[in-house]
Symmetry: D2
Subunit: 334 residues, 4 copies
Amino acid sequence: MNTFGENIRLTIFGESHGEAIGMVLDGFPAGEQIELDRLREELKRRAPGGAETVSPRKERDEPEFLSGIFNDHTTGAPLCAIIRNTDVDSSSYHPELPRPGHADLAAQIKFKGRADFRGGGAFSGRLTAPMVLAGALCKQALERRRVSVQARILSVGGVDRSAEDFDYAVHKEILEARSVGDSVGGVVECVASGVPAGIGGLMFGGMESRIAQALYAIPGVKGVEFGAGFEIAKMRGTQANDPIVTENGVVFTETNHAGGINGGITNGMPLVLRCAFRPTPSISREQKTVDLMKKENTTIRTLGRHDPCIVPRALPVVEAMVAFCLLDAMCEPR
Amino acid sequence: MNTFGENIRLTIFGESHGEAIGMVLDGFPAGEQIELDRLREELKRRAPGGAETVSPRKERDEPEFLSGIFNDHTTGAPLCAIIRNTDVDSSSYHPELPRPGHADLAAQIKFKGRADFRGGGAFSGRLTAPMVLAGALCKQALERRRVSVQARILSVGGVDRSAEDFDYAVHKEILEARSVGDSVGGVVECVASGVPAGIGGLMFGGMESRIAQALYAIPGVKGVEFGAGFEIAKMRGTQANDPIVTENGVVFTETNHAGGINGGITNGMPLVLRCAFRPTPSISREQKTVDLMKKENTTIRTLGRHDPCIVPRALPVVEAMVAFCLLDAMCEPR
Amino acid sequence: MNTFGENIRLTIFGESHGEAIGMVLDGFPAGEQIELDRLREELKRRAPGGAETVSPRKERDEPEFLSGIFNDHTTGAPLCAIIRNTDVDSSSYHPELPRPGHADLAAQIKFKGRADFRGGGAFSGRLTAPMVLAGALCKQALERRRVSVQARILSVGGVDRSAEDFDYAVHKEILEARSVGDSVGGVVECVASGVPAGIGGLMFGGMESRIAQALYAIPGVKGVEFGAGFEIAKMRGTQANDPIVTENGVVFTETNHAGGINGGITNGMPLVLRCAFRPTPSISREQKTVDLMKKENTTIRTLGRHDPCIVPRALPVVEAMVAFCLLDAMCEPR
Amino acid sequence: MNTFGENIRLTIFGESHGEAIGMVLDGFPAGEQIELDRLREELKRRAPGGAETVSPRKERDEPEFLSGIFNDHTTGAPLCAIIRNTDVDSSSYHPELPRPGHADLAAQIKFKGRADFRGGGAFSGRLTAPMVLAGALCKQALERRRVSVQARILSVGGVDRSAEDFDYAVHKEILEARSVGDSVGGVVECVASGVPAGIGGLMFGGMESRIAQALYAIPGVKGVEFGAGFEIAKMRGTQANDPIVTENGVVFTETNHAGGINGGITNGMPLVLRCAFRPTPSISREQKTVDLMKKENTTIRTLGRHDPCIVPRALPVVEAMVAFCLLDAMCEPR
């Protein structure tokens, strides 16, 4: 299902080369002031065409608000916003040749050959634009509740934060991959500060469950971890347990291996998580595939204007999903 | 919310030292034959008291089926099963002293001091017993659909599969931790074979989203990854993309870095995932905490009969959550 | 699906002649005091065996609370309660002979012959016991929020409130029907007072939508109306519109044709609704049916101990469903 | 919540005088051919401006399809369609003067004065246009499954089907109400033929529960009944029970007092239901209201171009909701 959330419900729709993509936010609190300029800034962080290392496609990504906002404030009714698909070139897609690393093959089977295959259709990274739009609305509401959400690149390909001049090293890594018709992945870390203690729920309603569900909806994510994450598996309990202390009437933990969440409930510490992105599957190198019509082995080159690395553009998307989950959980039933 | 699933709905209830724990499966297909002996075997795999390296608590874990089964077959009506809490010793819990690494502090805030704190209450690892029960029912139904789900330990503490005599090394690692009043974590890998291509859904309904949501409901999980997982972030696209080939009329991929899932939809390859478990938070070493009544720093020792490592007992739990998600997705709307 | 509710989720399970029936309330507010004696009183109002005009079956209906209550207060974790099926006589049920007016035929088709047919299985009126249990918990929570919910009989068969000595007339009508091996239906009215203005939601989340969904889950309900109901269709707007007035700072309406709900949202006036119950389908008169094995026309007499009229016992059930919907809506997201 | 449905999810958004209204259908089967001309015909049946007895407003109601359709077939991805709001005159709305019979007062309280009050905002009858759009898509899919859904007027004001020349009598009744600045209500009956036996679910998932929830989302509905409806409350069991018979291998019932549904599950007979519509609340007569700013009693005249009776335009809306519920239930999990 394309609808997500317990108290606020986010529905995302659209296909890469269809008329428009968009989202509906149902249950968003009434009376929240919306600053449209800042929404557009967030969309720009995600949009291609902005730097040497990303796709030269121009996605104008100008949102149209159809409902739910009146006099610059949310009305409490479902808020729908759409983004038209404009700079679209559907000439280079061949439904009979599924692209390795893409959802083409799986989608054809699921939708009985009826999926809109152009540009990856509903599986396209373009669908992260309405995610960012929803997240930007949530971030403005969270700000007023003194919660901030911030993502950063932790690594790209073989380059991590231990590198000298990390930004430059990342830039070089991406350009190098592109120069050989290849692509690279990376890891994004996201921290949310100011999250109140006591939000989330039991079992399947725990914050990790909800956030992981949201993050795995982002195309290309193959790993999600919280706090010390996979490293915690190598620790001893004495090391992993965060000591509880109090100072000036505030109770907190000395370390934050739990990433701000115990038993699915926030504990007042910053929420910390990381997610791993695969290298962009669209590369210009020749790759093995199968001609589904002729039922024989063949090869394909994914032409078109593609990012050699989606990680820099993924930052606002990760923030968006985390922000949505936090606002959703903070709006829990009375 | 404690209810999970799209087409089959699993509701889990209970508290560690309450009357009983249990689960309701709603929407489970009618007419599935249920072999009760094999259900009990699955529960035994999870139960403590079975080996030197696990808790000496005796949890009899005898399930009572209250509804939904008639003449050894499912009726199509909601299936409820419960497990009584028997070998319970509530003497050693102190609600004013939150245990580090546990949900105690977060739960007190969320439930305004009303949570049943005994034995971790609704946050207890004991709640994995109804998970296993539900999963065992799903596994029997999956078997008839030729799908198998199998988990194994990948590492415990510092010991991984590269170790000589892995089982013995794991055993030693756990005993050694226990001998010093400490605990260890580990990583579990789960593989599902025979999964048909084309199940799952778009966005938030993708298989990774659904399975991750379920796995993070297991107490102690701090990381979940699919296919190549976090390693994929270091790869190039040429390496990460799974080449698509055909042989004898079957289309498959030469490698399986995607872990059997593209764009949230299964592609017919085995589903592969891993999850990281933290060391058991209950350790007998003195730890820092805060007396919430007196509002001052103090220390606590978590007495009681605890596992130095939950990883071995976690295998049927991970299988259960994966099995549930697969059957749920295979029962998708027509 | 057997799960219902937006903010509190009610799951009902069980079959008439299975081990037990019961319910899970998930999301019920933490810290609500529960008076068990008064819960039992509510169950008695629904139970058969209490009067001359109802079934002589003895349903002890003693609830067992398995989770979610600790020290007489709700814990915030899912609350499960069950009622054992005791006075059960399964000898007189023949799955091949669907009983007219019952769900037998429809259920056999839906569940491919696997439904537990004994006593109507999951379709039995017995499933209203967990409804009443859930409702009684909600009523106690509503009382503390100054909301009361009260149902009364409006008519039974041909006897309505215009009759002299209504209670006696109803009694006579029921006994007369029973004396000829027949049954009668009736109409129940329910009024909720003290409901705050502004609860409910848009569209499918409107109070009428939610309450109607719940009421139609009660076996035997074939009509539901709010305020002036079907009569409003004959009115003019001048008559149907409730004039809005203010007195001593309070805004209210002079009439209440809307039944306390406009556009799905409560307006602060008492909530008024009625529902129509069909005559009990189980009657001792010979009725036409089909032998599904032999595929030929035949007849059936529904023996067993049945109510000639379920309307008196339905009062706490209607109250329960309305109470649940009100508490659920009052616990709406912040 | 504005999202509805078990297997197909319908989300409706928009406000009467905002940019656009619309809907998202998620889970609609892939590969359904869509005839756009026939969709437009359905929208015309609902649109005002078509006859002497309805509002002179021109609502062009031209749908734009943004996603989910490719080459005239559904893709399986969420289908979003919008309708721009054009012929809008917002001059005559005064938020401080709640209109009797409307949701104005309730909405102001719920949404803390932030609701878009113009034209009734999200509570406007205009929101039935996306309902019709969704329903028209469902009707085309149902046709291919040999199910038809047809509504008709049963009564308007005091005129019912027993009247000579019913259509003319209805026409006269409406014009007469309008001539005195008043409005009339009525009753709509809807019959669905060809519905397969065995669809629907237990308890809250029963067909009556689902259809009633949907119908009560239509503005102005105050009563919903199935089969014999409220009349069944006056019957005896011998009369109400539908005798089960077989002829030429087909099992059916001789009468249809159950309206095609037993225990929430369809029984193969035509589905029959009725719903009561209140008179249009917008009338040009002076009515009592309260000035919420000055907090004093006053009067209001609802100017603007309003229908003296919405019943004729409601027919496709009722059909839409029934069609959606049927297709949703027919797409049940495997």
